[in-house]
C-alpha cells in the first residue's frame, strides 16, 4: 500500500517555527502508524524525531495527534486512517511544549500525576500483616481498570478543560487518584477525596467524556471522576464551587424539571456571585440574562419519580 503522510516538523536548532512536511512511502497492508514513521525515518528522513519503545501499546511513549485526535501510533492502522481521511496527518500532542518534531515536554503532565499522591498510604495505626493484605475477589475491579493507565497523556492533552484551565489536574491524574481511593488497602480515603475535589480537581471536569473516548486502554477516567464525586457527596465534602454547582443543578431539575440558569450562579458561588456583576450587566444588555422565575414543566411529578427511583436503586 502506498500511503501519504503530512507530518509536523520542528527542529529547535534551526527552525523559527513548526512546519509540515509531506512523505510518501510503500507499506505492508496491516502497517501501524508507528511502523510507518519508523520506515520514513529509516528510508527517507533520518531527522524525523519521535518517541517509541514497546510497539505493543503498553509503554505509552508514542502518543501523538493522528488526524487531529490523540492516539498511540502503535495502535493505529495506516489503512484505517487512509480510508477515513485519505492521508495521515501527524502532529505532536497538544498543549505541551514541542521539543522537536513529535517529541513534547511531558514534565507538566508528570507534575499533575504527582499531585494526586499516587502511592499507597496504609492506615498509620495498622500493623502491617506478616503476609499479604487480603482483598476480596471482585472488590478490586475499579482498581484494575484504573491500573490499565499507561500515562500516555492522550486524555490529558485532548481534554477540553485543560484547554481553558491549564491548572486542571486532568483526567489521567484523577483516574490515578481514584485508583487509590478505590483500593481497600489504602487508609487515606478521606484525605484523598478532599485533595481530589479541591480546586482544580474533579469539579472542574466538564463531563464531556473526551477522556474516556480517546483512552487507548479502556480506562474510563470520566467514570473514575464520577465515582470520586459521588463519594465526596456521601461524605459531605461539598464546599467547592463545583460541588455546589452540581447540587444546584440537581435541585433545580428536581424542583421544576428545568435548569434555572438565573439562580444557578448564586447557588454555586454564594455571595461570590457579586464579583460576576459586570459580566451580568453585559449579558443583560445583550438580552442574555435568563428570567429567574420559571414555571415547572407540566409533568414535573414524573421527573420527581425518576429521582425517587434512582435514589432507591442505589
Amino acid at each position: 500500500m502506498l500511503a501519504t503522510f503530512k507530518i509536523q516538523k520542528f527542529n529547535p536548532e534551526t527552525d523559527g517555527k513548526a512546519h509540515y512536511r509531506d512523505y510518501e512511502i510503500e507499506l505492508p497492508e496491516r502497517a501501524t502508524v508507528l511502523e510507518a514513521i519508523i520506515a520514513i525515518k529509516e528510508q527517507l528522513d533520518g531527522t524525523l524525531s519521535f518517541r517509541c519503545a514497546c510497539r505493543s501499546a503498553i509503554c505509552g511513549s508514542c502518543a501523538m495527534r493522528i488526524n487531529s485526535c490523540a492516539r498511540l501510533a502503535c495502535k493505529t492502522k495506516v489503512a484505517d486512517e487512509v480510508a477515513r481521511f485519505g492521508t495521515v496527518l501527524i502532529e505532536p500532542l497538544q498543549k505541551l511544549k514541542v521539543i522537536k518534531d513529535l517529541i513534547v515536554d511531558m514534565d507538566p503532565f508528570w507534575r499533575m500525576v504527582e499531585k494526586v499522591r499516587p502511592w499507597l498510604m496504609p492506615d498509620p495505626h495498622e500493623t502491617p500483616p506478616e503476609r499479604e493484605r487480603l482483598v476480596a475477589q471482585g472488590t478490586d475491579r475499579d482498581v484494575m481498570r484504573d491500573s490499565l493507565c499507561i500515562f500516555c497523556a492522550c486524555c490529558h492533552t485532548d481534554c477540553n478543560v485543560t484547554e481553558i484551565e491549564p491548572g486542571f489536574v486532568g483526567p489521567a491524574a484523577l483516574a490515578r487518584g481514584h485508583r487509590y481511593v478505590a483500593d481497600t488497602r489504602d487508609g487515606a480515603t478521606e484525605q484523598r477525596i478532599r485533595l481530589l475535589s479541591d480546586s482544580h480537581g474533579i469539579w472542574e471536569c466538564a463531563r464531556c467524556f473526551v477522556c474516556t473516548q480517546v483512552c487507548p486502554k479502556g480506562v474510563d477516567p470520566r467514570e473514575s471522576i464520577r465515582q470520586i464525586g459521588h463519594l465526596a457527596f456521601e461524605r459531605g465534602l461539598v464546599s467547592d464551587d463545583g460541588a455546589r454547582h452540581a447540587q444546584a443543578f440537581l435541585d433545580s431539575v428536581k424542583a421544576s424539571g428545568r435548569l434555572n440558569e438565573a439562580t444557578l450562579p448564586l447557588k454555586t458561588r454564594g455571595l461570590g456571585v457579586l464579583g460576576m456583576t459586570p459580566l451580568a450587566i453585559r449579558m443583560f444588555l445583550k438580552g442574555k440574562v435568563p428570567f429567574p422565575l420559571q414555571k415547572p414543566v407540566p409533568d414535573v411529578e414524573e421527573i420527581r419519580k425518576i429521582f425517587e427511583l434512582t435514589e432507591k436503586k442505589r
Binding site: 528522513d45 531527522t47 511513549s61 522537536k100 487480603l134
Partner: protein, 555 residues
Amino acid sequence: MLEYDVVVVGAGLAGMRAAIEAAKASKVTVLSKVHPVRSHSGAAQGGINAALGPDDSTESHAFDTVKGSDYLGDQDAIEILCREAPDDIVELEHMGTVFSRDANGRIAQRPFGGAGFPRTCFAADITGLVILHALYEQMLKTGIKVFEEWVVTSLVVDDNKIRGIIAIDMRSGRLEAIKAKAVVLATGGCGPVFHNSSNALISTGDGMSLAYRAGAPLMDMEFMQFHPTTLKANGVLITEGARGEGGHLLNALGERFMARYAPQKMELASRDVVSRAEQTEIEEGRGIDGCILVDLRHLGARKIKERLLQIRELAIDIAGVDPIEEPIPVRPGAHYSMGGLKTDVSGATLVPGLFAAGECACVSVHGANRLGGNSLLETIVFGRRSGKAAGEFAASVAAPAFPESAIRDADARIEGILKRDDGEKGYALRRELQETTHENLGIYRTAGRIQRCVEKVTEIKERYASVIVQDKGRIFNTDLVSAIETGYLIDLAQAMAAGALAREESRGAHSRRDFPSRDDDKWLKHTLAYWTPNGPRLDYLDVTITKWPPAERSY
C-alpha cells in the same frame, strides 16, 4: 560535576528496586534513557513466581528452576532466588502492587511452564505494568532523583575501578558526567540482536555492551530464549499465561502436537522444549504459513476478557484475530537473554564498584533456559541485593578521581559519527545483523551456520566503523542514539555467536543439530566472554552445584 555514592543506570524493575534499597543508606540517583514507566518491564504480562501456598515449597521452586536451567544455573544463586521470593512478593504487595486474588482474598497463582506447582502471581496479564508503577510510585514517595531521557554512553573505569558514567542528556543534547563510587547497571535485555524479537525497540543491551567493553566479562551469551508464542508480524508476545490458563497449541492438522514431545507437561513444558517442538512441526510441514496456533476458545469469553485482556487486544490489533473466536497464529521468537554480565549473588561484576541486576546480569539463576515468571522475580530479588551491596561498597571507599579526559574522548566519538558523511546508515546494518542471527543463530544451530554468522557479524562490525547519521543536530538526536545502539547489538551478537560455536553440545535454549545431546563431562560449565579488539576471548567457569546433581531432563 554531579556526584553520587551510587548511580543506577536503568529504571525498569531491577533498577528501581536497586535504587530504593541503596537509598536507605546512601546518596543515589537513577538514569534512564526513557521515563521510568516506559521501561520494558511494563510489558511483562504473565506473572512473577514465588512459593507462597502452604502445599508448595521454596525447595520445589528451586528444583524446578535448576531443572529448567538444564543444570547450568548456579544452585547457590537459585536457592537464594527461591528462598527470598515469598518475602519480596509480600513486600511488593505492601508497597501497593495490585495482584489478582483467589477466593480467599490471597494473591492468586497460575500454573506456568516447567513448574511443578501453580506458583506464578499475577495481575490479569499486566503484571509487569502494575509492579513497575508500584516501584515508580515508591521512588516518587521517597524522592529519589531520576535523570530521565539521559542515555549513558560510557562507563568510566580507570585503574580497574569504576569512577562514574557519561551520558547524553537528550533534551539539551549535551554530554554530562556523573561521578560515582558505585554503579549499578540495570539496562535490561538485548532482544533486537534478532529479527522480530518480543523486546522493546529500546532493549538494545547497552549496559551489557558498555561493561563488556570496559573489561567485565559476559557470561553464557549463547543462551537466548525463544518464546513459543510471539505474533508473526512483529514478534509481540502472547503470554505463557495463555497456556497457563489452559490454552492449547495446535498444528495444521489440529493436533495437540505437544503430546509427542512432552506427554506429561504438554503445553506447559519448559520454553526451550515447546519452541523446539513448534519449530520441528513447522519445518516438517505441519505449520500454517510459518506458524502454529494457540487456541483459547474453550476458555470462554469471560475468562479471556478478565485474565487475558491485553493479549486479546494485541491479537486483534496486530494479527486481526479475536482469540474468543479464532486461534491465534504464533511462532517462536527471540525473547530473553539468559546470558549477561557475570555477577556474584550480590550483583558484583568483576570490575570493582560495578554491579549489574535484572536481565543485563547473569547471576546465573536461569542457566541454559529461564522459566517463565522467574525473570521478574530476579529483577526484584537481585535488584534489591545489588542495591544493598552497591550502597555498602560506596560506604567503604573514598570518592574516586574522575579522569577529565573521559568526557573529551566521549565527545570526540560522538562528533566523529555526526561529522562523517561517507559510510552506511545504522539501520541497514542492524537489519543485516538481525537477518544473519535469525537465519544462522536461531533455535536449531550447526557449526556451519554459526560460522557463517560469525563471519557476517565480523563484516558488519567492520562496516559499522564508518556508520553515518542523517540528523546532525544535538537536541534529541534519536538517529544518533539508534546508531550507537546498533554498535552494542553487534558486539553482543559476536559474543553470542562465539559462545555458540564453541559449545559443542545441546543444552537448554542452545540446540546443536551436530551435537544433539547434553554433554556434562565437557560442557557443564559457564562460558565467559572478554572483549578484545579482535573479537571475544572465551574462558570457562564451573557451575555451582549444591543439592541437585545433573540428571536427565524430560517433561
